[in-house]
Symmetry: C2
Subunit: 202 residues, 2 copies
């Protein structure tokens, strides 16, 4: 499953593309941070980011788009820019018939590090480890976009709607799994087993 993750922003918009196998192993395809100069007006800044997003989607043809779910924060101008970019990203995805999923920052952190309040450094370090990278992707927007993409693939079981079946698939020999991946697989297997057990009892 190829997922494009977007950490939406008007000044810096992180975009990461990963391939994730049903056994949870993930591979980096591409990662960029799209930028728009603050001197431009908002419509032109949105158009600049939109162009970059369209180019990446058309180049890598992901199966799904994962976006950070935006919440109201203290800085209204930041929320607006983020919500506007999210709207533009959703429009671009919808026009290509790509499914869009939203994940909250704590959902992403929990999926990647096993801890919903992990800091940016922990998320970055885990992203590098999961993808087998020598260094943490910089800036944080790049790592966050990759984390979103991985989170989405893992939460949907690598193939949308096939989470339980996939969790039972054997992990190939020599695959290095992170603690979070191992914990996730164990949790899903146990859920699958208890689900099966429940069904037997009913």
């Amino acid at each position: 499953m190829r997922v494009l993750g977007i950490d939406p922003g008007l000044t810096r918009c992180g975009v990461g593309v990963v391939d994730v196998e049903p056994n949870r192993t993930a591979r980096l395809v591409d990662v960029v941070v799209l930028r728009s100069p603050a001197e431009l007006d908002t419509p032109r800044r949105l158009a600049r980011i939109a162009e970059g997003l369209e180019a990446i989607i058309d180049e890598h043809r992901p199966h799904a788009v994962a976006l950070e779910r935006v919440f109201a924060r203290s800085d209204v101008s930041t929320i607006m820019g983020t919500a506007q970019i999210s709207g533009v990203a959703m429009l671009i995805a919808a026009r290509r018939s790509l499914p869009v999923a939203l994940h909250t920052p704590s959902e992403v952190k929990a999926a990647i590090t096993g801890y919903g309040r992990a800091d940016k450094a922990q998320v970055g370090a885990m992203v590098a480890r999961i993808l087998g990278l020598d260094a943490v992707p910089k800036p944080a927007d790049a790592a966050d976009a990759l984390a979103l993409a991985i989170c989405h693939a893992w939460r949907t079981g690598g193939v949308a709607g096939a989470a339980v079946a996939d969790a039972k698939a054997p992990v190939p020999e020599g695959t290095v799994l992170t603690p979070a991946q191992r914990a996730w697989i164990a949790a899903e297997r146990s859920a699958a087993v208890s689900g099966a057990a429940r069904r037997l009892k009913e």
Copy 2:
């Protein structure tokens, strides 16, 4: 000057097109309320509204787009939908090289009724009067979109960057002006006169 006003919303998006002369008289060109069904996911709803906006812009070819400036309000989900639609509208305008202007609700009310805290009924009644309509455009989103478009044309003097010169243009015989239009013209003429007086003194 032909202006397209947008009262952004995911459920109902008001879109009004008006022609405004330098002497402030305004004529209705078109008004619609674009809707998207709540059963669709947000990306598809945005795409639905975007299609409608593009069709109206391509049909009427306005010179400028006026959008309601979105502020943080109590209901976060409403802000998000509104900001997302705004982002989509800005993108569509930017891709057609159309200038986009933002006006706050109180700026619109002040321009149309002379009172920044006017209620929806007052704004609707003045919009009908300014455009010479027999009835107030319904729903309120339609009237608000027209008010935005008129407000934008008036605030920019009917022709962007030509406010003072235009304010001096004579109003044609028989033109019915609203109190707000008369007050606006008087204020601009007095500003133009005092500006000229200041320049003579300097």
